[in-house]
Symmetry: C2
Subunit: 298 residues, 2 copies
């Protein structure tokens, strides 16, 4: 897939994608939708947990990069941007309704999943809810493609592989005992330097990898690379062109990034009371700002 073919998708802008989701015209995961526009993970919490969650993000910015939140408790259409330098412009500057503009939602009650892949959360949203938007690695994947380093899962039309790790988050208030969730992409050893460079410029959407190489699997406490906890399994052998496998530098090894599923996982583990809403994995909110707007922001 090239950038050009990606741009043949129906939605051209962030607003297009949000309206398509709202009117149920877009019903699939949002990878490749409105290319170049930033996509975000969403988690919606009862207000009494908002301060602790904000703190969780501040203490763990790599897996939990907070890019925006409801501008006040209960607000689903007015969003306050937390990215340095983008506060005035805002990541969403046109029409937006967080209850309808994601294609699919998950609903949790007292930390138990009670509805999966619902089309909207108009009924579930209350005046006490606060929405948080978390950066997503789609932002740097476009740049990886542009740099001639397309992730395998995109070439194969699959979802990225995501794993629970044993690397602990810095706790914050009620959010104790959470661990990093990481996404994985395979790269040749010789490409890792460049892959780190390209993704390091996306500091507000996970930035450079947290670890890499076969040794990283053990260090991160990943159970089985072939069985990710979220997303599709990687195609570990073959599947796309592998150069001369004799040279160690040409061997493909796993490279791991912080993943926006982390805060959702941390919230689920925290045993919160009340109704928590979230995007369904892969069905993100598409914003009005583009990848280049967040380049080199720390």
């Amino acid at each position: 897939m090239t950038i050009e073919t990606m741009q043949n998708s129906v939605s051209k802008t962030g607003l297009d994608a949000r309206l398509a989701a709202r009117h149920n015209k877009h019903t699939t995961p949002t990878a490749g939708i409105s290319p170049g526009y930033i996509q975000a993970n969403m988690i919606v919490l009862p207000s009494r947990y908002a301060a602790d969650f904000r703190n969780l993000c501040a203490r763990n910015p790599v897996p939990c990069p907070l890019i925006a939140e409801s501008s006040s408790t209960g607000s689903f259409s007015s969003i306050k941007t937390c990215i340095k330098g983008l506060e005035d412009r805002g990541v969403v500057s046109t029409e937006c309704d967080l209850r309808t503009d994601l294609a699919r939602y998950m609903v949790y009650k007292n930390s138990k999943l009670v509805a999966s892949h619902v089309q909207d959360v108009i009924e579930q949203w209350t005046e006490d809810h606060v929405a948080f938007l978390i950066g997503c690695s789609y932002s740097f994947e476009t740049e990886l493609i542009r740099a001639g380093l397309p992730p395998q899962h995109i070439l194969l039309g699959r979802n990225v592989s995501m794993y629970r790790t044993t690397t602990r988050l810095c706790p914050a208030g009620v959010f104790v005992g959470g661990t990093y969730v990481v996404s994985m992409r395979m790269y040749k050893r010789s490409q890792i330097g460049r892959v780190r460079e390209v993704t390091s410029r996306f500091g507000v959407t996970h930035g450079e990898p947290v670890d890499w190489g076969w040794e990283a699997v053990g260090r991160l406490g990943i159970r089985d690379l072939g069985e990710p906890e979220w997303g599709d399994a990687p195609v570990l052998k073959g599947g796309f062109a592998v150069d001369d496998g004799d040279r160690e530098d040409e061997e493909e090894v796993p490279v791991f990034w912080g993943c926006g599923v982390t805060p959702q996982d941390a919230v689920m583990r925290a045993g919160l009371e009340g109704v928590v809403l979230a995007h369904a994995p892969g069905y993100m909110l598409v914003l009005d700002v583009k990848d280049e707007d967040i380049l080199d922001v720390l």
Copy 2:
């Protein structure tokens, strides 16, 4: 020790403490000096490593809270504040010379220690150096005393115990393979909630603990709680009043915080070329702002 007796020390303000160090009138560690004023760890790097170091801090704010840096490459007297809301006022607003105003320095060349506990670094400082100031847990210790939760090491007149862990930092550029250094204070299980609350308000100086309880020792990969890598060994049994040991809640357990030695350790492991300067452990830079100025800043 009470706040009142701490305030009997000679230096009253941050400027007093800096001038005393400059004129070699203050030659001991700075714990308890100019109480209420923020103290900072310092690390000074060749400019080519500055961007990566800034990124390391941004990605690991709990052990590496960057509070200020040289306002331009080579500057040792003009300091730019990185704390949200304090940019205009600045953490140092009166006279300061980073080459002389810390009581003792360490000098590294090509990642090897070449001079220890020197009085100044006038000779070693070059126009290519950039200084970084990192938050220090002294800030919240004053508050812990105020809250009736004095750390044992202060009561005993000892240095806090610091440990290398196996918890990996999120890498940034040349800074790969670093791990958290943590400081430890013993508290009763029943006190941990309050200890977390008090220190959580000091987000720019490590904030709330990263882990606690006996299980945390294993999770953090600490070799031997009785043999800290830095500081003094804790007095693990007795030494100060222990209440009814029969009740589990009254048992004292270790509580661990991110520690400002972390970035210094990460720098040493990164195999940097050139001259790196740092404060000698315990001999911090005393700033012009007070603990209350950084309360509740994220």
